[in-house]
């Protein structure tokens, strides 16, 4: 019985610390804007931001493998800088999830870039 409590307690402890240490805010651009204006130290907090790519803003610099593009949720817009390979599904007008930090100069430096794509299993509806 005691050992059982110990096991459950350990699992609970692992989960609690796990969430505390690795949890990441998931925000939209306007939520990020609101958080940063409320508390300037929010710049240093890593966040995940889900937003749409602004069509025509994707610029790829192959030499440095850097991709810059703007994301928006219709209200706030942030320029994103990402260094690395983009997924196949990353194209204009797609929804993306970027993880990283908002720099003091207002650009979002992303360490990961995921393109959300409803078409993984379903065909793209024709526009």
């Amino acid at each position: 019985m005691l050992a059982g409590v110990l096991v459950v307690g350990t699992v609970g402890f692992l989960m609690a610390t796990g969430i505390k240490e690795t949890g990441v805010y998931y925000v939209t651009p306007s939520e990020l804007a609101a958080k940063v204006s409320a508390d300037a130290s929010f710049h240093d907090v890593g966040v995940k931001m889900g937003a749409k790519v602004v069509p025509g803003t994707i610029q790829r610099d192959v030499a440095t493998q850097t991709i810059t593009f703007d994301v928006t949720d219709g209200q706030a817009t942030y320029p994103v800088v990402y260094r690395g390979l983009a997924p196949d599904t990353f194209t204009d007008d797609v929804e993306v999830v970027v993880e990283g930090r908002l720099q003091p100069d207002g650009t979002f430096r992303a360490t990961t870039l995921l393109a959300k794509c409803g078409s993984r299993y379903e065909a793209v509806p024709e526009a």
């Binding site: 699992v11 796990g18 949890g23 192959v62 997924p87 599904t89 995921l114 794509c117 299993y121 379903e122």
Partner: protein, 678 residues
């Protein structure tokens, strides 16, 4: 044909409702005509849903693009195998497929279950009929695969190129078979509750089903990893994505169930736990379908959002309430027959195994749902990713690995020091040797070191069991070693098949340690340029860009880039990775471009090359190179697991008369006390 299919679906719905009614009434009244009818309904459901599936397959093969489903998931230039696999490539087709497979399983359960468990069959038929009817109803009312368009498109949109892969032809059905076959143990649990015959009978009746379902889930998950590895092109095979987690959850609870039933069979303990566990497993199999289709959790895998999610949510809630009521109303009958005597005993080790597995399932569920939970509680979404899941699950997984070695050998009730010494001295010594060796080579990753040490321990216990068992037969029966070994396994298939499955699990753990030593490098190379990488083993690999070529294939344009690979200066070969743009039969691009990784797999390590694209139309190419140690052992572990599962599943070798008798006696003694007449 779609008219026929449509008709078949409606008939299936009616039959499902009929089966539920006659199954329940037949079970309750013991009316033979009703019971007979329930059984026949199960067979009829399987027949009528076969007709529906054949109808959809015919439409797919005949390129009947007037059918919306065919137009959405197939195209003229799609190879035949993928046309057939389009049956479950889309939402509505997969619902039909689900109902179809469930009806086959249900019919098989009616057909194959031994007569002595016949008292469970009417209620079991009622449950499988309800679940089948549910899936048919969702197909009919929310996602109809036979719906027609009001025009005839010239060609279909084609199957998503990422699904055009042999692994993807078999991965979804395997996973579905696993999910779906959980319904059978669940149905028998419900039947046992209804009949109030809560002895081990129902557990004996579903023994093989439970294992079958677990093997299918394991194979489905492993094939899913393989597909993600070869097709998604990020160099790994498991990302703790919600959809992956959804398949992992019922696997964890079924693994727990597989072990906890042994405690009930031997000691009459954990009865409530077992009923709850099988209910939770079934709920998780439905839940997995729900989160992948409802879009409530963002996943890169998601199906398009649709009303289908609400159907599943409603089914999940009503099913959960029903099961809770049913279990509660039989609570007293589920009393345990024994108490835990010592924390150093087989019961206790299985009990810890269950706590850990369910704890792991809970943490995975919690992490998967955390965006929603945090939004409800705190108003902001907080997500957790692979770091969370790894941080929590690696320690739990290692504890489970240790129990894999301890559980099967430690004595029942209370282990004596002699028992511990007899079984664990050699394996512990072996593990200590391995640990020393790992320290000597300065293995840099702590968890990997622990995992390898425990793997040595568990392997030691298993090998010792085989050696001792074979030796004992050799001495007692004078058989030669080969024959003694074969008979040892053949006569105790559940036990030794189980050991082989454990060996498969150990192999997975060894493979997972390789992930701690991945090497990655991204580079942009002109033809003739090269980069070098050092693998975890200390080998130096050189990748030299050869060039880019472009050509047309069956249903795609291909841009292929090749690198020449050398290990420590010795040429190994050429690896060619492709960028594919799929086209329809008019040459128009369909879908986004997709990447084909080039993989050179050996038992030591995989070389994994991704061609990310050419620079401004020149032959300069951007690559990502990954050196992945031990990946091949994931697939080998899967093969060992299936082999062990097959040994146990092979027909025959059911529970002995003696153990059935014992189970019944324990039960009959209890009935009068609970105020129930037999």
């Amino acid at each position: 044909m779609t008219v026929l299919g449509q008709l078949a679906l409606w008939l299936a719905l009616l039959l499902g409702v009929w089966g539920a009614v006659v199954g329940y009434l037949g079970g309750r009244r013991g009316d033979l005509a009703l019971i007979q009818s329930a059984r026949r309904t199960s067979y009829a459901l399987a027949g009528i849903l076969t007709v529906a599936v054949v109808a959809l397959l015919t439409a797919l093969v005949k390129n009947d693009f007037n059918v919306a489903y065919v137009a959405s998931y197939s195209s003229r230039n799609l190879p035949l195998a993928y046309k057939l696999s389009a049956l479950y490539g889309g939402q509505s087709g997969s619902l039909l497929f689900w109902a179809f497979v469930l009806s086959l399983f249900a019919a098989a359960a009616q057909w194959l279950t031994a007569r002595r468990y016949a008292y469970l069959l009417p209620y079991a038929a009622a449950v499988t009929s309800v679940v089948t009817a549910f899936f048919v109803a969702v197909a009919l009312f929310a996602a109809n695969p036979f719906e027609r368009l009001d025009f005839i498109p010239m060609d279909g949109r084609g199957l998503n190129p990422q699904l055009q892969n042999p692994g993807m032809v078999i991965h979804p059905p395997m996973l579905y078979l696993g999910y779906i076959s959980i319904t059978i143990p669940f149905a028998f649990a419900v039947a046992a509750l209804f009949t109030r015959r809560l002895d081990v009978g129902w557990l004996h009746a579903i023994r093989k089903w439970t294992l079958l379902s677990w093997v299918f889930l394991s194979v489905g998950i492993t094939l899913g990893m393989w597909w993600a590895y070869v097709e998604l092109g990020w160099g790994g095979y498991w990302a703790w994505d919600p959809v992956e987690n959804a398949s992992f959850l019922p696997w964890l609870t079924m693994t727990a169930f597989l072990h906890s039933v042994m405690i009930q069979e031997k000691r009459g303990m954990l009865k409530r736990w077992n009923v709850i566990l099988v209910g939770v497993s079934f709920a998780l199999s439905i839940f997995g379908t729900f989160i992948t289709r409802s879009g409530i959790i963002s996943s890169v895998h998601s199906f398009t959002q649709s009303s289908v999610g609400y159907f599943f949510l409603a089914f999940l809630i009503s099913g959960g309430l029903f099961m809770a009521w049913l279990t509660w109303s039989r609570w007293e009958l589920l009393q345990t027959e024994a108490r835990l005597e010592s924390a150093v005993s087989r019961e206790a080790s299985f009990f810890f195994n269950n706590l850990l597995l369910v704890g792991m399932a809970f943490s995975v569920l919690w992490g998967t749902m955390f965006p929603i939970i945090s939004e409800l509680v705190r108003g902001t979404q907080v997500t957790v990713g692979p770091p969370f899941f790894n941080q929590v699950n690696i320690p739990i997984g290692l504890a489970l690995l240790a129990l894999t070695g301890i559980g099967p050998l430690i004595a029942w009730r209370r282990a004596s020091p002699q028992n511990l010494q007899r079984h664990f001295l050699v394996p512990v010594a072996l593990a200590a040797l391995v640990a020393l060796g790992l320290v000597a080579i300065r293995l840099s990753d702590f968890y990997a070191g622990v995992a390898l040490t425990l793997a040595a321990f568990v392997t030691g216990t298993i090998v010792q069991e085989f050696v001792r068992g074979t030796g004992a037969r050799h001495r007692l029966h004078g058989e030669n070693y080969a024959l003694a070994f074969a008979r040892l396994v053949g006569r105790n298939r559940r036990r030794y098949g189980g050991y082989i499955v454990h060996l498969g699990i150990v192999t997975y753990f060894v493979a997972f340690t390789g992930q701690a030593f991945n090497q990655n490098l991204e580079a942009s190379l002109k033809p003739g340029e090269s980069v070098t990488m050092r693998s975890a083993y200390g080998d130096e690999y050189t990748f030299t860009h050869v060039g880019v070529s472009q050509y047309e294939a069956l249903n795609r344009f291909v841009s292929a880039a090749s690198v020449d690979v050398a290990r420590n200066g010795q040429r190994v070969g050429v690896l060619t990775s492709e960028k594919r743009q799929h086209v329809d039969s008019f040459g128009r691009p369909s879908f986004e471009p997709s990447t084909e990784a080039a993989i050179r797999s050996t038992l030591r390590e995989d070389l994994y090359v991704i061609y990310a694209g050419a620079v401004n139309g020149t032959e300069e190419a951007v690559y990502r190179f990954t050196i992945n140690p031990l990946v091949a052992w994931v697939w080998i572990g899967g093969a060992i697991l299936v082999f062990g599962g097959m040994i146990t599943l092979w027909p025959g070798g059911g529970p002995s008369e003696r153990s059935i008798q014992r189970g019944m006696e324990g039960y009959q003694a209890k009935l009068p006390a609970a105020g129930v007449g037999v």
